[in-house]
Symmetry: C2
Subunit: 266 residues, 2 copies
């Protein structure tokens, strides 16, 4: 394959991706925070892919372009597709072995609660999880392009080190969100569950210069969950939230309800 | 709002969408199978959106175009965005109240097992579930554009009727897959869990007329789960598979592992 790179079997192989594109500040902060822990390969989207969820590109081919903008890493490529495409093509086309860990981010903006489903950052991490690769999506609760990733860099290094040093039989997949506070304000780390919350959509209606109506998706995030064991609570109270994530979407409780109350086979 | 429709409060309001586009055969079969059960409003993508997962459109506006190709329904619009966009804009812009049920499909091709995550059809149903709307994604194990939806139509009508007649306190969200067999070969309906399976990617490398390399995503579906309580088993053995789905991705078991073994707060 044209883009295959040769990894060092004696060093951890770290795959890095994101959804804000390979040109974002967040991915550079992530690379800088972990490159001392292993050999880094970056495959990240060439264009911003926020909100792409678990989309894959079926109707167009993908391209990889070598991008030389990071020091001290093995290789970096821009991928013309989605975050999930980036992980798939990394695994099959670029890497010569399964990476020891996949890190996605650092996202500009939080991906707590239900955003795990909409987020390209988290979907890339989930895709690595499906491939049985230990994986973490990192997000900072600050949307601005020039966000301050100083605290995030410390969090990323600490969690990545912990994961590399404690390999589990069932690879761990994490959604990590970092509050937008100063280093000295951080209260600690909390293992959390995903809060029950959702977006309340409000489409903004406009009229184009030719008189046709179009709509912009906007919305307000509403947290309906006021327990203290959630990622939303942790973030609001000065903690890094860590939600272990899985991809079995079966609603096991509802199986009993259906088996007891429905009569489709009568 | 320009596209708001007026619903009849005395009839069930049925929202229909899909990911193969409003021009597919599958959505017409779905509409025809349920329009006697309530008032149908269709909002479906104007272009094929297979594999779009839970993507939402953030960087472009959305447009709705009225499409008059179905008889005996309240309204139908093509949406320029994704399946999830279609559900969001239906709820906020088009419908005057929460629909009693949302149906997505009938997909050309199965969406069993891990495909619940990649599938635009299922992601639309999940989005309705997040909005607390009872919801079902229907898929037929046959990819061809002119697939035979005769058995599917019966399955769709039966499940939709059952859901409308048995409203639950916690709205039910289902992933229904229909085997590609004749009506008389159907063995029945099975409530299942999502099988442990995944795609083994193989990118096909090509060279364009200008000498640059590009890649097509291809892959083989591999089922690693040989238990008899899965959707894969049901489909392979002549049953309609029904997997109740949820969208709390927390890995609760891993919370204990992390709390007991990690020492991030030391």
């Amino acid at each position: 394959m044209a883009h295959k790179i040769k990894s060092n079997p004696n060093r951890p192989l770290i795959l890095i991706t994101n959804d804000d594109s390979i040109y974002s500040k967040g991915i550079r902060s992530l690379i800088d925070a972990v490159k001392h822990l292993g050999d880094v390969v970056v495959i990240a989207p060439s264009l911003p892919q926020s909100g792409m969820g678990h989309a894959v590109t079926l109707h167009e081919p993908l391209r990889l372009t070598e991008i030389k903008r990071f020091e001290g890493i093995l290789a970096s490529y821009a991928c013309s597709g989605t975050p999930v495409d980036s992980v798939k093509i990394a695994r099959d086309v670029v890497l010569d072995r399964k990476p020891d860990i996949c890190l996605s981010g650092i996202n500009h903006g939080s991906n707590s609660s239900i955003n795990v489903i909409y987020s390209g950052t988290m979907s890339a991490a989930v895709e690595a999880g499906i491939e049985a690769i230990p994986s973490v999506g990192f997000s900072l609760s600050d949307h601005i392009a020039d966000a301050d990733f100083e605290l995030s860099a410390e969090v990323v290094a600490k969690i990545t080190k912990e994961m590399l040093e404690n390999p589990q039989k069932m690879p761990i997949l994490l959604n990590v969100n970092i509050p937008n506070i100063k280093k000295e304000e951080l209260k600690g780390y909390k293992i959390c569950r995903q809060a029950v919350a959702k977006w309340e959509e409000e489409f903004e209606q406009r009229t184009d210069p030719r008189g046709s109506i179009y709509y912009w998706l906007t919305g307000k995030f509403k947290n309906y969950d006021h327990q203290t064991d959630t990622d939303e609570w942790a973030l609001a109270n000065g903690y890094v939230s860590i939600v272990p994530v899985q991809f079995d979407l079966t609603n096991y409780k509802a199986m009993d309800v259906l088996n007891n109350n429905w009569h489709l086979n009568d």
